[in-house]
Symmetry: C2
Subunit: 355 residues, 2 copies
DNA sequence: CGCGCTCATGTAAACGATTGCCACGGCAAC
DNA sequence: GTTGCCGTGGCAATCGTTTACATGAGCGCG
């Protein structure tokens, strides 16, 4: 086993170096080279190990992950499906997810469904074809009938192969999930408002077709009841999840009750409400306070910097990563529930101390 | 759905179906099955083709892309490196890129460098190990000395393997690139302002350390000179690329010249300037107009909806995709220069017609 | 001195596709 | 009736790894 054989027939015709080249240069078999490069538990003498290492170094050898994946049946890749990667909400989630799995040397495929069922299914197939170890659904499932069916089939198939599925929102598929507690978010915000002295709080709810609207509304109602604040349908108006929706709700609300604060089911509506209030001559927060939910980027830059509740998007991604890693490590991951965090800005004032 | 053929020697021990299973079920060789499934140019009779197709269908066969990649030396994957995927700027680019390559059935790996040279290099290595066909650098190269060196080496290696490199910003690496014309952006905006009658325009420049500051400033100066507008150092103030930076520049500017409009090198500064103007008692745009550059999401929601120039981020991504595809198709891609587009909102007014 | 261990290494068979080359049957041309 | 080509299809090598199994050296111990 001489390492210095002259004229060893190294095939230099193909530039990228494979394990074979490393082995040859180190004067060992491919198997041995593999064992040291892959950190196998199989024993290798220190001397040999060093030889291989330095050979690899001098050839600047980079192992082919695909070849490895082929035999180990683990690609060390994860695919995530988002509705729209240009939306910072998903951007943040993806960032957290990526950070989390990167720490364990996984790579992330990103797919944009644009909320198109067909497209989403195709991505699942593509991920499957690419042998990803896990698929993460960052958003809720879509509501197409055929879609549900096909997705179930694909999921079963994928799991049969040993793939893990993780959900970061409500979803028709089963699997470990991380959930943001929307009920609690609304309730906590009511609690905050009450803590600042508000006892008549109006609520601008989201469109009833959306599940999240119901949950947040329920949270609002529950808190209001528990704290003995002003309650009843007259305190509630609903609108679309838009600037205009929030604005339009204000007159309706103000016609019916005399509130000192308004909570909107999302920030866009809260900002719309603020604008409307301002244009009607109310001072925010001095006459009426406004709070939102979500903490979208513009919350800080609206007409009045908005007090709202941050949805921990990055943390959702991180939590998702940890579920993925657990699932792939043969643990049985438990669902993760995340709470929001109130970010205080300038749109809520205190009402005279109860003292 | 169990196969109804009695006693066919199908190896049912491994659930996921491979080409072997398909071939067996169709009663042909693996080679033939492959030719059908991969759309090879090798002729296959129509009858056989149908048999294979229906076998594949009934097993819901999904080809293993990794195996294919191993032999074809093409993984059909692309890696993109961004500074921060949660930044909508990069989110948009990634979206465009993804849309573009997805159309040709490529998958996208996303990596977040967090502007950390070490991390970025590791991602390049990881992409290499994963045999991506192309690496896209969405942002400018970092300024670490060792980094530049190592990156060059890695790039050379990667290209030696047949990999393509595409740049979406200024970069130390060579390669096809898509560039946003910053010089022209500033100049065009000056043109727009001049068109609305402004002849004394102040400019809030960015920090001199940044290349982009110089380019935009040059664009401003060039336009102002060409159009014969008020010019000279007194028309220019610089600040950090922040809200505060923009605000602080206003008094300096106003002390020296009497302007009818202010152009800021980015939107954040423009918004900061607007706030400052407002708080000093000026009406925007009636007393002084303000324009920005970039069209960030909050531009629309600032104190006064900002007239600015949209950087075509999505299009940059798309253009990047097209460069990638060209490069992988053995074309020699030419650089792509993209211009911005003025989005008119409410922060700029016309000054009395020259008539 | 030989038995059985452990440790280190090598041999070769996978993994799941693609593809160069060969084989075979039919058919037209000579 | 050969010859040769064309249209099909199979055989087997290959891509770059990992890993089960075999091999062989060295060593302690009875």
């Amino acid at each position: 086993m001489l390492s210095k054989e002259p004229g060893s027939p190294l095939d230099e015709s193909k530039p990228p170096h494979s394990l074979r080249h490393v082995a040859q240069l180190a004067g060992v078999s491919v198997a041995t080279a593999s064992r040291v490069m892959s950190g196998s538990s199989h024993p290798v003498s220190e001397r040999t190990r060093q030889q291989v290492l330095s050979a690899a170094e001098s050839l600047s050898f980079v192992p082919n992950r695909l070849a490895r994946a082929l035999v180990t049946a683990r690609s060390h890749t994860v695919g995530v499906i988002v509705h729209d990667i240009s939306d910072p909400y998903f951007g943040d989630i993806v960032k957290g997810l990526e950070d989390g799995i990167h720490a364990e040397d996984y790579q992330l495929f990103v797919a944009n469904s644009d909320r198109d069922p067909e497209k989403e299914l195709n991505y699942v197939r593509a991920f499957d074809a690419n042998q990803v170890d896990a698929i993460v659904f960052a958003a809720s499932s879509l509501t197409d009938p055929d879609y549900a069916d096909t997705l179930q089939k694909l999921a079963t198939r994928f799991r049969g192969r040993g793939g893990a599925i993780v959900l970061l929102s409500d979803h028709l598929l089963e699997g470990p999930r991380v959930l943001f507690d929307n009920h609690r978010a609304a309730a906590d915000m009511v609690g905050y408002l009450a803590g600042r002295g508000h006892r008549r709080i109006g609520y601008i709810s989201g469109p009833p077709e959306l599940e999240v609207s119901h949950v947040r509304l329920a949270g609002f109602n529950a808190a209001v009841a528990e704290l003995g604040l002003g309650a009843g349908p007259e305190y509630i108006a609903d609108g679309k999840f838009t600037l205009e929706g929030g604005g339009a709700a204000i007159p309706k609300l103000l016609d019916r009750v005399d509130v000192t604060a308004v909570l909107a089911a999302n920030d866009l509506m809260a900002i719309g409400a603020t604008r409307q209030l301002l244009s009607m001559g109310f001072a925010v927060p001095d006459d009426i306070s406004v709070a939102g939910l979500d903490d979208i980027p513009i919350a800080e830059y609206g007409p009045v910097p908005l007090t709202t509740m941050r949805v921990p998007t990055y943390e959702i991604g991180r939590a998702g990563a940890s579920l993925v890693l657990q699932a792939l490590g043969d643990d049985v991951p438990a669902d993760i529930r995340l709470a929001g965090e109130i970010v205080v800005r300038e749109s809520v004032s205190s009402i005279g101390p109860p003292a």
